[in-house]
């Protein structure tokens, strides 16, 4: 659609939502006037929010196109109002130029701003460094562990030390695999009650400490993915006071759920890192409020239906989120920190961390936006998801807001 007029909409401009107005959109830009024959969409008082940026996106392509495809992933981003994402493939470690070129080629099919996280080791095995100088030169925005940090402390040091030449950030999911062992849920009252093997908080905090100490020693900037507890946030706070450039995110679902949601053992709640206790969830909300947490991540990971239709401990962890993230989190987030900070956490800060172009709405400029109605509800059904899988803990839930449409790089998608 080349041009469009959105009527009765409240755009987020200069740090706040304006009163009701009309927005004329032409070829991806917000302009003063649209052609007279431009179609009109009545937003009925909905909000026009600068489009969002997703941290932690993995379509499982190209190794697992039986699960999901890039096309489905891009569609999910349009449905959820995400103009860009930081992509880190667990199935296809980007550890050389050939793999990087193939991925860039796949991303070139969409105008969405897809940023790539390369692996700092070959095949995520943490035994041989990847060619980080070359990968950086050809456009990766950072180096990650594929959410499987299997490194000795020495290898961790060497990878950060070598990677420091690129000036790019390192991204880690802090989880000690030996302490995780066969655990699938948080080690706490719920796991003990259910007799399930648990993953203790120290599986995270020990690794957070090791990463932060190593990064401080080397002066290397790092990002910690999906922090789950207060103890980790304390370590991050101290590292910042000591001068480290450390950013962190919290997963959408760790703000919405805790381990008491596991009581009926629905495999859609099987996430790694695990959902922790109510007190941990509260601590994460405090981190959101006091600014310790920089961003809310999506960690969008499609999982085959048959890999979820098994008993909890045998399921594959992971959840879809792009299509439902905004309506699920918007209201609780705004009520905790206000609209401006909410947009920082969902759009501005994730984009900064991923070296992407930050979005803002301003007349006469390119406009990527999502129309969200805060007074409407969304009943999450299978049809809400772009692909053939629906592995979200929100499936069947009623969300307190509703996405009406998105406008990304000139493409209008009505939900």
């Amino acid at each position: 659609m080349d041009s469009l007029v959105i009527q009765n909409v409240r755009p987020f401009v200069n740090g706040r939502f304006d009163g009701l107005c009309s927005m004329a959109l032409v070829n991806g830009n917000w302009v003063a006037e649209a052609p007279q024959d431009a179609p009109v969409f009545d937003a009925n008082g909905a909000l026009a929010i600068p489009a969002l940026f997703a941290l932690g996106v993995d379509f499982q392509e190209p190794m697992r196109d039986d699960v999901y495809t890039f096309e489905k992933g891009f569609k999910a981003m349009h449905l959820g109002g995400f103009y860009g994402a930081l992509y880190e493939s667990s199935a296809n470690p980007i550890d050389d130029i050939q793999r990087l070129s193939a991925l860039k080629q796949a991303f070139s099919a969409s105008p969405l701003e897809m940023k790539i996280l390369a692996s700092f080791s070959k095949n995520y095995k943490c035994s041989q460094l990847s060619e980080m100088l070359e990968l950086s030169r050809y456009g990766v925005v950072g180096f990650g562990d594929g959410n499987l940090l299997n490194a000795t402390t020495r290898f961790l040091r060497l990878s950060m030390e070598y990677g420091s030449m690129t000036g790019k950030r390192f991204f880690f999911l802090p989880l000690d695999l030996s302490l995780r062992c066969a655990g699938s849920v948080h080690e706490g009252a719920v796991s003990d009650m259910l007799g399930m093997k648990g993953i203790p908080r120290i599986a995270e905090t020990i690794v957070v400490h090791t990463i932060l100490e190593t990064a401080l020693f080397l002066g290397q900037s790092v990002h910690l993915k999906q922090i789950t507890c207060a103890e980790s946030l304390k370590l991050i706070e101290i590292a910042r006071q000591r001068g480290l450039d450390v950013t962190c995110d919290v997963s959408l679902y760790h703000l919405l759920f805790d381990d008491e949601n596991l009581l009926d053992l629905h495999s859609h709640f099987y996430l790694i890192p695990p959902l922790r206790s109510k007190a941990d969830k509260e601590a994460l909300w405090n981190g959101i409020k006091n600014g310790l947490i920089d961003a809310i991540s999506c960690n969008h990971k499609p999982v085959l239906t048959q890999e979820k239709q098994v008993n909890f401990e045998d399921a594959t962890p992971g959840a879809l989120s792009l299509e439902v993230a905004l309506p699920a989190i918007w209201k609780p987030l705004v009520s905790a920190v206000g609209e401006s900070r909410a947009i920082e956490l969902l759009s501005m800060n994730p984009a900064k961390i991923a070296l992407a172009t930050p979005q803002k709405l301003s007349l006469g400029s390119p406009a990527n936006l999502v129309i969200l109605h805060p007074e409407k509800k969304t009943l999450v059904q299978a049809s809400h998801f772009a692909g053939a899988v629906q592995n979200s803990p929100l499936l069947g839930a009623e969300l307190p807001a509703a996405i009406e449409a998105s406008y990304l790089y000139g493409a209008w998608t009505q939900v």
Partner: protein, 310 residues
Amino acid sequence: MSALEIKHLFGLRGVSKSDISTILDTASEFRQVLERPVKKVPSLRGLTVVNLFFENSTRTRTSFELAEKRLSADTVNFSSSASSVKKGESLLDTLQNIEAMKIDLVVVRHQGTGVPRFLAKNSKAIIVNAGDGANEHPTQALLDMLTIQQHLGSLKNKRVTIIGDIRHSRVARSNLWGLTTMGAKVTLCSPSTLTPRNTQFFEGAFWETNLRKAVTDADVVMSLRLQKERMEDSLLPSMREYRNYFGITGELLEHANPSALIMHPGPINRGVELDSEMADSKHSVILEQVTNGVAVRMAVLFLLSGGRHG
């Protein structure tokens, strides 16, 4: 006895400008001896030199051996692989047994930092370091300096860029100490995993991880040998990336001084740290370094054993 301020040659850190100048001047004279039909002088006649090599070495040992023979010394070779060290003998016992055979000079190479000093403390012999761990390789640096001096006239204010595994290189350290003492400007360039992290004692050195910046306007580009073990140790991802970002190529050399010298302590990994055409180009003085090695070692042995320059 020594004609120098130093009595042994442990390294170049702390060695005076005057001593280095004397060694280089004497080496220049021995260099001329090496061009004669009869390449031998009687300077060390009657003295016995032991080449005590605990690490594999072909070039350095051959060079020392030739230097000793050119000076008419009696020479004995000792290598740890074919000796009592294999049977568990301690370093001190090895030394004392060799010394009991009435030797005068010991040329030692060992994988441990400080071994030449340890030998000097426990022996009356004159000790010459032929490489101790990653600490120093003073005769290599001296021969490098002699080569530069021969081509560029003087070391003062010359811009020397050393590229490679600085963290583990005794050649880089000795060159840094020696060259800065003589007034050269030394830039060290290496991947960050091969760069020393604490450089407060590397006075006078400029550090750079960007190779192009490091060689810009350089008078000398010295490449170090890259050991394949560095890949196995996870210090580098691949030979390919090393070559692409730290290898000396013709394109890179366009940023250096047009008459820049290319140096390498050998043996070269062609196509890794140094492209083959660069190693064989008109800029390359690598074979001259080898020849100068004999002259420098002659000068060191000669001066430490009391010979006077001139």
